[in-house]
């Protein structure tokens, strides 16, 4: 089980987790199971179940009520989606480590992709990343078919990503969603059976382990948007912070926002508060609650006098089947509520839209909000071809047109769909445009031009990542290109679009996920997602923890025992070059450009010999010469066990122009085993290095779960720093050494 290529520190964590899970299992195994639940008593049990339901029949009433409302308001049947997350989608995760006997087939296409890079950009059909998907001759025909099917659409816009085909009818989609995915899965299973290994993953640990790193790195970076947002305040003079986002100019939702005059907060229980903030004096001037209990809060946007709240939910509804029969149906949805907040004391709902599927992500650019959700069709046996609402997503209770559903030319095993819609906030009751992509899942990166969806593909000998690019300007969502690269992509910061090219850093697992030799690659893809250049076999035995690109230069961190920070020259898309490699102790999980020629890293300090974690580490790199990057300062906070910055980049307060950095951290009290929460604010100057401005306990807001760590946000407006938690806000005077100057509790 011990794998040399896997870093010991992580291995240790992994073992500890397994051990705890084992302990839970063992202790639970000794629980006495009530006699009444014994299968021998099934009849009585079924009776009891029914009765007890009668007793707590509230939810049924609610469900019936819901169904009624739904019928009444929509006049369309509630989409009937049974979301049982089971075998199909997760198969790939469960048996990652099979070794296929017939190396040839899938490996081949990958080899072509490698080759392609060496050739000139013109060699389009060996087609690197386009891989086996693009070359299908049937594309063009089917795409043409799609064109005919949707004559009302602007034909010049009908260009579909190579490798994906727009549906021409619901019947065709039915075939794709059920028959083709099933075939793909069978094929894969046969291949897997042929394998000798038969490795069964234990308790999800191993597949999670890599992604843990990935997950935390998801917390990576953002361009310094703060600067941009500053100055839009009502007064025009006050600077204030804004949500740390992936791409400058592409807003992301969060639970705390400010416009320089007011602080907007959302709590998990569904309360939206508007707090006027003038230095230390704060008061709640407006408040509203989401009355729909089925909704869970995700995030919000604030733009002038418009405020949007994104929620997700799960509903059971009863569906009339005729003959006194109802069927209980359940569905996942996300909603976008748009409010007018011109009068802060009167928060007025202007409109709401709803989209099928579980919450995935959202973005806002200009007047448009983009909603991304993951939709699962009903099981095959429940699906009727004549009822497309069972397998095609609806938005605002309206079924997507078949031509708006795209399926891969080469069938995938997954039949889940990624749904992307746009909403023009001028018309907050309407979905402007929707697209659904069959077989897509994974994560997203949104540049100013494009939405990229990327997800792992485990079918081949080696794991690959599929990437699909959509354009989204002014709410018009069009699939533009699809491609594939070898390996796994750590997070949204591991991709970057610049000047028409997509640069990607990926970790390859050549001999399968767990056992094998890891190495790292850098790929440059053109706007068709075909490979133009690459560098491979970097940092063998290590994996990517963080990355950041700026113009023609890219930086990424791999780690095993030491942290090499690579810098790469991307000025020639056909010939990217590694410029330098800096080895330091520990590793950065989040990178952020910090003023001229500086790169900030947030990560962990480790012991280079044992790999043991020694504390949270802030690093400042001098990147004035990318070929010779230097770590010029660092600060280590010992004993920090968790840092929210690495879990969710949006939670970081970072504004290089204002020279301020803030995040929450969790520390286990070694005496009482209680999780203590802190919020730290730092600044940096070349003479003195990192300086602590505030290190404030947030324990007064914490319960035993420690969830508060994820909810607390630091923001600033002018000279006041505000620490916003789920049950209040504290103000600190930035001019007076962060002296506490006001508190508001609710």
């Amino acid at each position: 089980m011990k794998d040399e290529n896997f870093n010991d520190n992580q291995m240790q964590d992994e073992n500890n987790r397994h051990e705890i899970i084992q302990k839970i299992r063992e202790s639970a195994d000794k629980e006495k199971i009530p006699e009444s639940l014994n299968p021998e008593n099934l009849d009585r049990l079924l009776e009891q179940g029914k009765n007890s339901k009668g007793r707590n029949g509230k939810w049924r009433d609610a469900a019936a009520d819901f169904a009624f409302r739904y019928w009444k308001t929509a006049g369309v049947a509630a989409a009937c989606v049974i979301l049982v997350v089971a075998a199909v989608n997760l198969m790939p995760l469960m048996n990652l480590n099979y070794r296929s006997e017939n190396k040839a087939d899938s490996a081949q296409s990958m080899d072509t992709s490698s080759e392609a890079a060496k050739q000139d950009t013109g060699a389009e059909d060996s087609a690197a990343s386009g891989g086996d998907m693009g070359a299908e001759p049937k594309d063009s025909k089917d795409m043409a078919k799609a064109d005919e099917a949707a004559p009302e659409k602007k034909s010049e816009d009908k260009e579909t990503a190579e490798g994906y085909i727009a549906g021409s009818s619901y019947e065709e989609l039915y075939e794709q969603i059920y028959t083709e995915t099933e075939n793909a899965r069978k094929e894969w299973e046969q291949k897997r059976m042929a394998d000798t290994g038969g490795y069964v993953e234990e308790s999800g640990g191993s597949s999670a382990s890599k992604n843990d790193a990935a997950a935390s790195t998801e917390a990576a970076v953002a361009e310094d948007t703060a600067g941009t947002a500053a100055g839009y305040a009502a007064g025009g003079e006050t600077d204030f912070s804004s949500t740390n986002v992936r791409t400058e100019g592409v807003d992301e939702g969060d639970i705390v926002k400010t416009d320089g005059s007011y602080i907007y907060t959302l709590t998990g229980s569904g309360t939206l508060r508007i707090v006027s903030a003038d230095g230390g004096s704060m008061s709640v001037v407006g408040q509203t609650s989401l009355d729909d209990l089925t909704d869970s809060i995700q995030e919000m946007y604030v733009d002038g006098n418009t405020l949007c709240v994104v929620t997700s939910g799960y509903d059971s509804g009863l569906e009339w089947q005729g003959d006194e029969t109802y069927m209980v149906n359940s569905r996942d949805f996300i909603r976008l509520y748009t409010y007018d907040i011109t009068d802060k004391s009167k928060i007025t709902l202007k409109g709401m839209v709803e989209q099928d599927g579980g919450y995935y992500s959202t973005r806002k650019v200009g007047n448009y909000v983009y909603l991304l959700s993951q939709f699962y069709p009903v099981y095959r046996e429940d699906a009727e071809e004549a009822q497309p609402r069972l397998y095609v997503p609806s938005v605002n209770n309206e079924l997507l047109d078949s031509s708006d559903v795209l399926y891969p030319a080469v069938p995938q095993m997954e039949n889940g769909q990624l749904v992307i819609s746009s909403v023009n906030l001028e018309k907050p009751d309407k979905i402007q445009e929707s697209k659904s992509l069959i077989g897509a899942s994974g994560r997203c990166y949104v540049s100013r031009e494009s939405i990229y969806i990327f997800g792992e593909d485990y079918r081949g000998e080696e794991m690959r990542t599929r990437i699909v690019r959509f354009s989204y300007k002014d709410g018009e969502i069009q699939a533009r290109a699809a491609g594939e690269v070898n390996g796994s992509i750590n997070d949204t910061f591991s991709m970057d679009e610049y000047d028409g090219y997509l640069r990607v850093v990926a970790t390859r697992y050549k001999d399968g996920w767990w056992g094998g030799s890891m190495s790292n690659s850098l790929y440059v893809l053109d706007d068709k997602l075909k490979m133009t250049g690459k560098v491979e076999d970097l940092a063998k035995g290590e994996q990517i923890y963080s990355a950041r690109f700026m113009g023609n230069t890219g930086y990424f961190v791999t780690y095993r025992q030491m942290d090499p920070l690579f810098s790469v020259d991307l000025s020639d898309p056909a010939d990217p070059k590694i410029l330098g490699e800096l080895k330091i102790t520990g590793f950065s999980e989040y990178l952020h450009f910090y003023g001229e020629n500086k790169l900030l890293g947030i990560g962990w300090e480790t012991d280079p010999d044992t790999g043991e974690r020694k504390g949270l580490k802030l690093s400042m790199f001098d990147i004035s010469n990318p070929a010779d990057v230097k770590e010029i300062d660092k600060m280590v906070l010992k004993n920090v066990d968790f840092c929210q910055a690495m879990e969710d980049y949006r939670s970081i307060l970072i504004d290089p122009e204002e020279n301020i950095l803030g995040f929450s951290a969790g520390v286990y009290d070694r005496n009482y085993y209680e999780l203590q929460g802190y919020y730290g604010v730092f600044t940096y100057n070349p003479e003195e290095g990192f300086q602590k401005l505030l290190y404030q306990s947030i324990s007064k807001w914490m319960d035993s779960s420690g969830d508060e760590l994820a909810c607390v946000r630091g923001i600033y407006i002018g000279n006041t720093f505000y620490l916003c938690g789920s049950s209040g806000i504290s103000a600190f005077d930035r001019e007076k050494e962060y002296e506490n100057c006001g508190n508001l509790e609710w």
């Binding site: 839970i24 299992r25 639970a28 199971i33 079924l46 029914k50 989608n89 997760l90 919450y359 099981y379």
Partner: protein
């Protein structure tokens, strides 16, 4: 596997026997899951009973025979979620630990106590994984959370237990 497939087929055709056999294979984990999430034996029992009744009534919807466990857990997890929501509206304290002093307990009790000290959501996530065999992505879909969030919560919860149990 084939047995299971056959059983599921029969259950779908209306065989109570077959259903009972499918149930037999999972009921202990169902109860453990409910108990560990709800912290209350009676409610756990109710939740399982309701789940079985629902599953039996809806067995026709079971698509994939191997998926019985995942399917019935999904039903149960929704019941538990609903009960947890009801709890938040109640004011009386929930299930109190039988008063014991740390150190007096044997290890299993300590583990249980440590587990019960987790938040609702953490218990839910850990139990989904331990008893239901769900992955972060699936749990995320059920809880409407990003799977990365689920993963970090899971790790945090386990880390917390590790600290407590040290």
């Amino acid at each position: 596997m084939t047995d299971c497939k056959q059983l599921a087929y029969e259950a779908r055709q209306g065989s109570k026997e077959a259903f009972a056999q499918l149930y037999q294979a999972v009921y202990q984990d169902l109860y453990r899951f409910a108990l560990y999430v709800l912290k209350n034996p009676e409610d756990a029992q109710d939740a399982v009973a309701e789940t079985v009744a629902d599953a039996y009534a809806e067995i026709k919807k079971l698509r994939d025979s191997e998926a019985f466990k995942g399917w019935i857990f999904k039903i149960l997890s929704n019941k538990c979620k609903r009960k947890l929501k009801e709890y938040t509206r109640k004011t009386e304290p929930l299930y109190e630990q039988e008063g014991s002093v740390r150190g007096d307990l044997d290890q299993d009790m300590q583990v249980r106590e440590a587990f019960f000290s987790l938040s609702d959501e953490e218990r839910f996530i850990v139990a989904m994984q331990v008893f239901g065999g769900y992955k972060s992505k699936e749990i995320g879909l059920i809880l409407h959370k990003n799977h990365n969030t689920v993963r970090s919560r899971l790790n945090r919860a386990l880390k917390k237990m590790e600290e407590i149990l040290q």
